[in-house]
């Protein structure tokens, strides 16, 4: 088994491998942050579309937060249902 020399040559070799690992780690960190942001935005959208029954008025509970029957029987989407509920 060859020894691992930490002389002049060892510094250059370590430098090259550190460059490689740093590049990969930075890349993975950037993509990981992007994926985390997407997941957060998806959950925000889910919150907007589904709503939180505990945050609504008692008489609204039981109704769909986004879709409400209009008087003539047609369904209309409410803009309020697409906005983020207060936390």
């Amino acid at each position: 088994m060859p020894a691992l020399p930490l002389d002049e040559a060892g510094k250059y070799v370590a430098g090259a491998y550190v460059v490689f690992l740093t590049l990969i780690l930075i890349y993975v960190a950037i993509i990981g942050a992007k994926v985390a942001r997407i997941e957060r935005e998806v959950s925000e959208l889910l919150d907007m579309t589904e709503g939180d029954p505990l945050q609504r008025e008692p008489e609204e509970v039981g109704q769909s937060p986004t879709v409400q029957e209009s008087r003539d029987g047609e369904q209309s989407t409410q803009r309020a249902g697409l906005e983020a509920p207060p936390r």
């Binding site: 090259a16 990969i24 697409l82």
Partner: protein
Amino acid sequence: MYSKGFRPLALLTVVAVLAAFALVFFYAPNEADQGFIQKIFYVHVPMAIVALGGFVVGGLMAVKHLRSDDPSWDMRSYVAIHLSIILGVGVLVTGAIWAKASWGHWWVWDEPVLVSFLVVFLLYCVYYPLRFSIEDPERQARYSSVFAIAAGAFVPINFVAVRMAQSFTHPRVLSQTGGNLPGDMRLTFLVCIVAMTLLFVTLFKLELTAKHASMQLKRLRTRLEATA
């Protein structure tokens, strides 16, 4: 969010990279001429091979995009080229470190292999401004594909041209005689190439998944705003 095979692939990649590092530092002997410095070879050369291969694969995916008009192939081509450019940065930096350690200079301008790789790298650096200067998504994809094909065709031509040139300092690795590598060095080198290829495929899938999810999210937002 990730596909079913992503986790095993990522795990396999980690194992392969660790195995490659173990072989490099604890199995492969020191080279007689350069000694311990030659260990840079096991990260520098596989990275260069995979980067150049990635450029060619990006070109082939661009061909697929132009033939099928499917935007997902353009996205694959973009991700392959993007990853290859990142590996290209690694190749240039590790190459400069190796050159300094071995030749005493960070860069040698009269060495065809180095300069040709720099030319390929700079050529692909043009890809970003070209792609992102076009706002219309269809035109952007089409023009980027044409560039990826032309540049992808240039890579093997460049490789052959450099091999035909007379070199004084840079060693030949891939030759008909097996690059004159002894058995244990060759095994280590092959494991390093496999590990680097697996790393490329894993990162490719990772970025593609992120891009796909981002596009789906944008579509969902647009749809929700339209219904609001």
